[in-house]
Symmetry: none
Subunit: 129 residues, 4 copies
């Protein structure tokens, strides 16, 4: 699992999102020590300061915390992580529904479109199999 960035959006924001993703998906487990800033920075091929900024922002959400000189750790609070994952999902659903409705699709039409999409996807799977 590597690091991919879109241009036109701040790197540190994308770093933040990707680390957050790793946490809510369990790649970095609760209580686990994160790699050092320098390691992470090298891994992602960014400047340590950029990574530092991402981690500092992430810390504001309590998803990670810093222990002076010992390193950074993922929160032990599994509920916090679970809530974060759920919150991210709900935000995405709401944003998506809102965007589609602005495009003039009703909630029913959206669901219908997605079920089509779903069926199409299933046919593709069969083909691959």
């Amino acid at each position: 699992m590597g690091w991919i960035f879109e241009q036109n959006r701040p790197i540190y924001t994308q770093l933040l999102e990707q680390i957050q993703m790793r946490i809510v998906c369990g790649v970095y487990a609760p209580g686990e020590r994160l790699p050092s800033v320098r390691e992470l920075a090298q891994e992602a091929a960014v400047n340590p300061n950029t990574m530092q900024k991402a981690l500092a922002e992430l810390e504001r959400t309590s998803l990670i915390y810093t222990q002076r000189t010992a390193g950074r750790f993922v929160t032990e609070d599994a509920a916090l992580i679970r809530d974060c994952r759920r919150r991210l999902a709900m935000e995405k659903i709401e944003d998506f529904m809102k965007a589609m409705q602005e495009l003039g699709y009703s909630r029913e039409e959206i669901l219908a479109l997605m079920q089509q999409d779903q069926e199409m996807e299933e046919r593709n799977e069969e083909v691959r199999v």
Copy 2:
């Protein structure tokens, strides 16, 4: 229908998106003459240069065209507009599904979640009524 901007994203990009939206949703009908750059800029409370840039970008997609001295017009090609709307919708669906799958939700779970969301929404509507 006013103009709302998020900070942290270029204004001209958001202008472009909102004008495009007005076209695919029929607020600006096929063949209709758009307000002048100055009028639009004033309406949106942005610098005319910024609006100019948005319209120039929009012209590259053929959704609008310029007639020398008469102003800018929405394309008469209804199919083009319809395709644009459909393309936008499909992009949003794909982006959404991708994002949700990265969060660890399967296609089935997503549909289930959205149906819940749908039902919750319906209950809210009843309350409002």
Copy 3:
């Protein structure tokens, strides 16, 4: 009114506090545009990045906001500013009372000590006069 820093505490934290102080004390009025990052940095004799960090942190409290390319402004919300001032005062009182009580002084003794301090201060004033 100049800029004074203690060593041993981050500069950006002290910048933040001093700018906050200027706002709650009305040196920077509600709605007023702040000097640019570069100006402030030069005035305080710090690196623009350091000032930038202080302002970014300050923005998180909504006491100031950024308008892309136009500059930073003090909030127009006078109530927010008033609350901030009051909150700062209350925090200081509580911290102070707690520290004194840890030193073994009762609330009554503290008030008595401060009234002595007050009277001493008044005598000093007379002397100066």
Copy 4:
């Protein structure tokens, strides 16, 4: 009475303050032998080096002294301890008054605010009783 640390400030400074507090408050009586560095370090869950540094600093104020092979002892000089306590209190009062005046409160307003705070506190006590 345990050991609590704020992050973002050196541990050894906080150790120093807390041991000093124990001495001026009589938790460690005049002439009493302190626990060994190792014991203190274990109790506070810090690195022995850190505790060592705190004690060394504390020794510079004469509040404790080292006897070669016997360990560290609280000074027998009760006046020294009393002065230290008084000095700490006065420093806190002055710092507090200065901070409040910078916030724009006059000495009279501060006393008034604190008497309010006092009365509120008394009402709370009644409730608890």
